[in-house]
Symmetry: C2
Subunit: 165 residues, 2 copies
Amino acid sequence: MQSAETSLDALLKLDNQFCFALYALSRRVTALYRPLLQELGLTYPQYLVMLVLWEAQGQTSPDEFAGVPVKFVGERLHLDTGTLTPLLKRLEASGLVLRARAQQDEREVRLRLSVAGLQLKEKARVVPLQLICNSGIPPDRLLQLQRELQALLEMTLPDEKATKG
Amino acid sequence: MQSAETSLDALLKLDNQFCFALYALSRRVTALYRPLLQELGLTYPQYLVMLVLWEAQGQTSPDEFAGVPVKFVGERLHLDTGTLTPLLKRLEASGLVLRARAQQDEREVRLRLSVAGLQLKEKARVVPLQLICNSGIPPDRLLQLQRELQALLEMTLPDEKATKG
DNA sequence: GGAAATTATATTGTGCACAACCTAAATGCC
DNA sequence: GGCATTTAGGTTGTGCACAATATAATTTCC
């Protein structure tokens, strides 16, 4: 009878909800990382932060490297300071990261890797390949899915700064 | 020179990590849900639980409905009791869900919807379509992505019960 | 130069996730 | 019946996420 209601009901069914699939797979993949990262003493979000720092520090000569602002990490990972500040304090406490206010702008906290933090990159190098193997997902499917996810992510980003009209 | 190290380094780069794309998009989509669910007084995980209960309760005549075991919800959403117990207590506190031990098996806690919980389904019916509209993602892409995500989810599930060898 | 606005980070509080452990009820097996 | 095992949930503790608010350093604008 009520075909309109029925189709709305169908949308409500859990099986039809792509959002649930996204949520469940995301948690599942994080769970696949967990044993690998445990050997590095990292959680998954901490690993993401380390990726940002490794990538940034690798691009400059070590001596003149001024450090990465917290803001930069936040923009890269789409995380705010409520998440990052305690996470970074834990990374500092475990001796991987150094936090210090910038001299030119005392509002900024700049992040640098300790020697241990830099060395950890060597151990981390095998993680991505390990994960791909453990997941059992064909690499070409991973690559295609990644492209699609990234496109959708950019498509749904909030207007960062609605500049002056 | 070291082409092997270079390709491992490339895998380490954040941009190449499909896992980050998955993680970031999952949080982004949850954020798209947030304002819609706020009007229902639900968080996203609470909404998922309600979906399971609406779906289960709808399949039986109300009087003889014995309720849904916590275990069932956990299996459906891949969540354990450490997550579900406090969440369900919050749903109970907000008057949407009733929790009661089963008589035949006192270990089981069975979940039933209150009248308010059932009524909330009417308000929730518009959520999926609203979300699709708000996201701006073409529905066919959503559908295709959902199928792929679900396939990968099943592919990477841990062996539930490695039955006797 | 000084008040107002902006910016970068920190803090607090709520609600997941998940590991590790605990308890009590049911089941199996003798 | 009675003990070992399994099963269903609960509890505790840690670590994200994120909203709301706070604070101090800069910048803007007059």
